[in-house]
């Protein structure tokens, strides 16, 4: 798969060292052959830990080969507050994020096919400013929803976000309302929207489009919640249960339809969408 090739390029061509052969699972510390780790799309075969994917890696393993067409690349970050913090201007930070990731916002949108069925995809990338909800993010998601509405295609959003993008202040907050308005229009037209929450989906993203799917699913172990663990502990002055805000916890509390292993995701989505009788 393409993303593996890119990864290999990054680690460049020296002699074979231990770290070239093994990956240590960040969760269970098991030593996994890199080859196995890669084939499993960074899902630990021992403990089912799901390591992060970039947005393009995710699309690569999801859609029919060659079917993906990116949309809305004309939308990128903006700096409505001309924000400057201790580390300098937000615009610089955004520029660095673009350089680091090769992406132009925290979400990538496009159309593609799942076993021949046309769908609209919006996939967030945590590497891009923590997957934060900027105005570009919101605009892309709304445009994806509008594209889905126009072409009567199901919308699938993969979330991965720490929440609002502080550097865009209130404009970031407004993206919560903006994206949900797009989802509402899609719903009014009877078009499915499937929300897939990956690690982590918190704050303003969980409290907006991520939580209002016709079907809400998540990857195993993903952190999903509104407030941060530390804030809650400080507020209620007590320790939180170990599984608090995990996908499994969310499912037990009624907010997730299913928890789906990354390697079953494509099949699962194909199956689910077959139940939509346009």
């Amino acid at each position: 798969m393409a993303w593996f090739k890119r990864q290999r390029k990054d680690s460049s061509g020296k002699g074979t060292k231990a770290e070239d052969v093994w990956t240590i699972c960040p969760s269970c510390k098991a030593h996994i052959f890199k080859d196995e780790w890669r084939k499993a799309n960074r899902v630990c075969p021992k403990c089912e830990y799901h390591d992060r994917l970039t947005c393009r890696e995710r699309i690569e393993i999801l859609v029919d080969k060659g079917s993906f067409h990116e949309l809305h690349t004309e939308v990128t970050t903006s700096d409505p507050l001309s924000f400057v913090d201790a580390k300098g201007p937000y615009s610089e930070k955004a520029k660095a994020a673009k350089k680091k990731t090769g992406e132009t916002e925290s979400v990538l949108t496009g159309r593609g096919k799942l076993s021949g069925r046309r769908v609209v995809l919006a996939v967030m990338d945590f590497r891009f400013l923590g997957g934060s909800l900027g105005s570009g993010t919101g605009e892309r998601i709304l445009r994806a929803a509008t594209f889905a509405l126009k072409h009567k295609m199901p919308l699938i959003i993969f979330s991965a976000s720490g929440g609002a993008r502080m550097h865009e202040g209130i404009v970031s907050l407004m993206q919560m309302a903006k994206t949900c308005a797009g989802i509402a229009r899609l719903d009014d037209a009877g078009i499915p929207y499937i929300s897939v929450m990956t690690h982590p989906t918190t704050g303003g993203v969980s409290a907006s489009f991520a939580m209002v799917g016709d079907i809400n699913i998540a990857e195993p172990g993903a952190l999903i919640g509104f407030a941060g663990r530390r804030v809650i502990e400080e507020t209620i002055k007590q320790k939180l249960p170990k599984d608090f805000q995990t996908a499994e916890y969310l499912q037990d509390h009624g907010f997730l339809d299913a928890i789906v292993n990354r390697n079953d995701m494509r099949d699962y989505l194909i199956s689910v969408l077959r139940y939509w009788n346009k």
Binding site: G169, C180, A227
Partner: protein, 314 residues
Amino acid sequence: MAMEFEKTLLETEQKIAELQALAEKKNVNFGTELAQLKRKKTSLMKSTYAKLTPWDTVQVARHNERPLIRDYINGMCDEFLELRGDRCFGDDQGIIGGFAKIDERRVMLIGHQKGKTTEDNIKSNFGMANPEGYRKALRLMKLAEKFRIPVVCLIDTPGAYPGLEAEARGQAQAIAQNLTEMSRLATPIIVIVTGEGGSGGAIGIGVGDVVMMLANSVYSVISPEGCASILWRDGTKAPIAADALKITADSLLKLGIIDEIIPEPIGGAHRNYTETLQSVKDAILKNIERLRKTSRKRLVEKRFAKYAAMGRYY
């Protein structure tokens, strides 16, 4: 609650009070001195409040004598029939709502509830609502839609409650649901930030056809303290963060996030309830009058277009 920036003003007020007490006790007339002090007070109020920093404004917005929803209900409504419950789990007093009559207009009034006493604040959880509060609010909005009356939301919250139970019962889901449904509610929604507009907890009842702010209220994606401790790694940099976040009514009007600023009396809403309530009432009535001419369908279309235009990248 003493606010640092109005120290001189408070001292003057204190002097006036002392002089008045003395005059009464000794039955002496300090007319000239009093008049002078009062002139000084007025002038100080004007000058102080003319140059509030964003951080000063945060203090005013959070002032413990600022009018709260119960004050608006008592002073602005001829009738209030509280409606309770989310029909699922509970009745949260962090957000209250009910039928309200404002002059001849009947509306569904919904808003965060803070208290002035500790007891009231515990009951209403300091205006930090639980999911039940947001679900109740949504139920009442849908009732308003059915009854064909406008919704009026008063926002004043530090944020949605960050608690274990709140997470377990779906704080995120409740807010997300409200944002979704409010965007297509087929009745006018008028939103006013009266004090603190705290992030998701605020916008959870804050999607409207017209969104207004009282002149000294604030509306922000994160508290200045929270932002400072994350981006400056130093909570005491809150004044700087407050400035950077552009959380005042003026800034938000310029950014096109809000539609209107409701003026406050000189010296802040906490110094003159009557005038504040009258201004809020006038703003509500004026906007109801304006919005009632729009068809339900057009209303929803325009609301969508309004939010779709929020934060355009070009």
